[in-house]
Assembly symmetry: C2
Amino acid sequence: MAVVKSMAVRALKLSPAVSFRLSRCGGGAKPLSVKSFSTVMSPPSKAIVYDQHGSPDSVTRVVNLPPVEVRENDVCVKMIAAPINPSDINRIEGVYPVRPPVPAVGGYEGVGEVYAVGSSVNGLSPGDWVIPSPPSSGTWQTYVVKEENVWHKIDKTCPMEYAATITVNPLTALRMLEDFVPLNSGDSVVQNGATSIVGQCVIQLARLRGISTINIIRDRVGSDEAKEKLKALGADEVFSESQLNVKNVKSLLGNLPEPALGFNCVGGNAASLVLKYLREGGTMVTYGGMSKKPITVSTTSFIFKDLALRGFWLQNWLSMDKVKECREMIDYLLGLARDGKLKYETELVPFEEFPVALDKALGKLGKHPKQVIRF
Amino acid sequence: MAVVKSMAVRALKLSPAVSFRLSRCGGGAKPLSVKSFSTVMSPPSKAIVYDQHGSPDSVTRVVNLPPVEVRENDVCVKMIAAPINPSDINRIEGVYPVRPPVPAVGGYEGVGEVYAVGSSVNGLSPGDWVIPSPPSSGTWQTYVVKEENVWHKIDKTCPMEYAATITVNPLTALRMLEDFVPLNSGDSVVQNGATSIVGQCVIQLARLRGISTINIIRDRVGSDEAKEKLKALGADEVFSESQLNVKNVKSLLGNLPEPALGFNCVGGNAASLVLKYLREGGTMVTYGGMSKKPITVSTTSFIFKDLALRGFWLQNWLSMDKVKECREMIDYLLGLARDGKLKYETELVPFEEFPVALDKALGKLGKHPKQVIRF
């Protein structure tokens, strides 16, 4: 990011075809037709682009992109805010199984305001707030042009930092609570990585359903403070891993029922702790691997304890042609955020300071809240 | 087994209550009532008994048990044959989660001939061949008295060694093919421990359904011979573990489709090989852990490959009140065995030589076929 850090932004020398792809990511490949009336064009856009895969702080740069045509079904959106998620970093690194072809604009979710609409667009008007839903590549730029059906109009009363981040993390938490084990009020779930945004959302969404949460966090300086924060969100029990270094973790259940569902985003010992908590026939869902350690399971856990291990990947779920269902859930989650029933910490960072936000997201500057670019 | 080896059988000094429990395992606790007519009694029985948990070759002994009453709903069965299964050994060792209270008679499945029936028994007659179905503790004895509903009458034309062993292993193979993933003709499954009886049954039962099998066996002296044996049973591909030490095991699939279902009875590297073969969204079912090594799985296998890991325990399935379904499947399997469509090796051993059979079953005398006691 040396170029960006010095703000010596240089325009990409892009062929028209590449330029088209960059600013119209996901917009299909319709032939451009010469029109007899004046063509609507987007403003020029400033974007975080990577031409090749690699470490994000070395392969990304700010690029000025020329205006593109806003065709009849297109909507031009002036981006308001977009987060830097770990999956965005993995896409740039080239280690994510599904990723746009390079060169590409970074980012996958975010919120923007409609700036201009094509002649056939009926459902959206300038001034509306929209999010790409399902999420869609290329949100790290000032103006995004995509077809109308990419965009979902949202309630403008929801704080922008939640609107920008509502899909990737909160929707993961919601789907994981819905898709694997039928849960009723009075049940419990167990999870590691509980301080992650998904973890915080699990706590709050579970509580709204009358479901208790048993939360496992890393041992670290400030873990008492982290415990208090999670309890303030509604966590029933919060343990650091070392506290669970006991023969029978279930002796620590207190009045809570044994959980039938567990979530793992850490791997290694933290995953084993989730498994230990599960009741017979329980399911552990893995959605991350922060420790970079694999999951190790005894044979008897499968045979005699009848545990099931599954995985969750939001992108896989979203690919199942569930646009309507996805948007209904997004509205539900945004409503909770607006009403203060779903909370998590983010840090808004001006677009100009993207390199610093990226360094924070990469963990190079200690622990920071989720970085959200403010355009 | 020193006492047994010298055949210096001594009668247990049992209280009537204990004696009752030993020869009526599972027979419930009805009050004995003095009857005005002559009471039917079983012959005295000779049984393999363990008074405490421990190594089977030190805690088991032959015990002469006194006659017990054959009550109105009881059936007295003269046992013909019963196998020594690994789970029998685990029960004696005390490491099996569900096990009879000690003192207990060993064994869990077997075949016998009806010797006498109680006055209210209508469905069975002396001379019928029966198996306890679902299986039931205490088959390692010459006469077993249990209620009529314990026993399932079978076709006498089935070879006794198959009748004695049809439930624990073949039924496991059948259920695992049925219960986890819908399979159609043309599909494939992958398994390790393919030379086990369950493994051999999987090969044959899959083939009858038009399902191909990819089989993984240990590297050992005679593995070429083992491969040929499995291929003669219908195995499509058989690999030793070292052959699969390649970057992409799927390059060895040939014309077979990627399997959606895998079976693991080994753990460790052999389980990882099964996982590598599975297609996206596939399921691995663990039903044994012969290597005594755990199963290690990467985070990405769950998230991006959407693998599911489950377990199968026949005893758990049987506890689901599926007597009728269980017996229908047993009849199906016995029919296959009778017609030579389901084959596996066993070694019939006279009851008097139980200690040698036990040593073979414990692996102390090299590799031997499944040991089946012939009463």
